[in-house]
Symmetry: C2
Subunit: 316 residues, 2 copies
């Protein structure tokens, strides 16, 4: 297949998953056209998924497609915004029709789960990687930043952390189980959880209503905790034993290189019950792991000395 | 420098070029936040610039940065939309601070020329490539598609075509001339024109007011001509000698693989004077090269037999 035929294949597979009436012109022209609700602001984020870094080499296409969508959507959710539209640029070293078709299937499945839709993209020959731009909407002035935590705020995290390193240690061959089977296992199996990060769109209202600051966890919990107070001179105190870990996960790895794409947020004390209610009603596990300090101290209790690195993953 | 330091370096270099009051939160958070004018629709396009394909290998960073912006902006202009915002994802194999700083300079210069601004991005380690998402605005319902030409419409093209292949034939070493010097030469020098494609934002009003269909030329003129009528059963007749070529450029190459990023449009006969006036007032050369036919014939006069391929560049 040539480039045009492959693009048609992808678009056929994607179908109309997640489309809404605001999308006036979808993929296929020089650009997509979207009408925008005047009371909404637009939230825009770009991520890259690298073969061998963000996904294991030779990962089946549908798993890469799903993971790519989940990774990019988590940035939008962390702003308290509803994911709406994606553009996806796939670079791949050969016209591997089966892999590309599976990739499109995984993207479609992720879009269905995130209630978002692909409005454009690019296909080119080169080393395999995927660049995604995600566009979300949030009521005017209500986007939640990541560095605006206030002293005494509670610090919360969704889900469980540490699946990545456990999965990479135990994953020797690709499971014959397909995407839909793996999706059923994400609450019990580290490999499934690593490959298919959570899509927390049901948590958007909680972020917008309750959070004083919020980010997704893509570079280690320690780095993300520091982000929460990077706009101020505040610090934090975290109870290490309250950090929700997968069995056998190592805390230091979780602090320095976890990319679980769970949501980390702070909220005022008086919203504690509200956060718990949102978590319960949206069936999303949540843990209260500490609080924001008015000083710049960064304290982990009880094992502070174990944890000195908070720099997070660096590509360089 | 690590990843965070490199990102700061890039943001420092970019400065506030092209920013507008609608940008509420710029680069640095999980996502950018943009307020949108209710009477405007949003136009979104994603492009990838591959090292060794869209730019020669070892191309200086500032030239790659400028070219990347120009490439992505041309899709927005071709919709009759004003370029507003870009996200840029750079993947590079090492933390080459000088190259990255120069790249940011070139992006800034392109943004200044296009009156657009970078609102977010990504930096990762890998084979060098750049993915850009461009977002533009167009009054509601006025976006120009690329396949809606009508019979008897004039076919126009801006600028001159064919610089790419001529440049690649003659370019043996990198000119010591910098970006600003090269920019002054784009109307006379094929290498300068190839490296620094036109940013036709001054032509947006003409596209929106006059065009029945429009696209930019990124995959050969023949392929793009076919796009103009791909939504219908119409064809075209093009006078080959009216196609504006660089001296020594070969017509067949221009038809099959030109990526000059010039603007190709159709317009009704009765708008001919209006198009010419817009071109003159915006100081953009324009050529009337043919017309749309009510039949599906695709005719080049006088040398039709020379030109049979209209498939355009395919990555695969």
């Amino acid at each position: 297949m040539n480039e045009v035929e492959l693009i048609h294949l992808i678009l056929d597979r994607l179908g109309t998953a997640g489309r809404d009436a605001q999308l006036k012109i979808g993929p296929g022209d020089d650009a997509a056209v979207v009408a925008w609700e005047p009371e909404q602001e637009m939230v825009v984020s770009t991520d890259v998924c690298l073969d061998g870094v963000h996904v294991p080499r030779d990962c089946p296409g549908d798993l890469v497609g799903y993971r790519t969508v989940a990774m990019s959507v988590s940035d939008i959710v962390a702003m308290g915004a509803v994911p709406r539209y994606l553009t996806i640029a796939l670079t791949i070293d050969q016209a591997d029709v089966d892999w590309i078709a599976a990739f499109a299937d995984g993207v479609r499945d992720g879009c269905t789960d995130a209630n978002t839709t692909v409005i454009g993209g690019n296909l080119a020959k080169g080393v395999k990687q995927i660049a995604v731009t995600a566009i979300g909407s949030v009521p005017r002035g209500q986007a939640i930043l990541r560095n605006t935590a206030e002293p005494e705020d509670d610090i919360w995290v969704t889900g469980k952390l540490g699946a990545t390193s456990l999965a990479l240690q135990t994953m020797t061959t690709w499971s014959p189980r397909g995407l839909s089977d793996l999706k059923r296992l994400t609450s019990t199996d580290v490999i499934a959880r690593y490959l298919l990060p959570p899509i927390r769109t049901r948590f958007v209202d909680c972020v917008r209503e309750c959070a004083s600051a919020c980010t997704d966890i893509s570079d280690g919990l320690g780095f993300e905790l520091t982000q929460l107070v990077s706009g101020s001179s505040y610090g934090y105190r975290v109870e290490s034993r309250e950090i929700p870990l997968w069995p056998s996960a190592e805390l230091e790895e979780v602090l320095t290189q976890d990319d679980s794409y769970e949501i980390l947020l702070t909220s005022a004390n008086d919203k504690r019950e509200m956060v718990l209610n949102y978590a319960q009603s949206s069936d999303i596990p949540i843990s209260l792991i500490g609080k924001v300090l008015s000083t710049s101290d960064r304290i982990f209790i009880p094992d502070h000395d174990v944890i000195s690195r908070t720099t997070g993953y660096s590509h360089f």
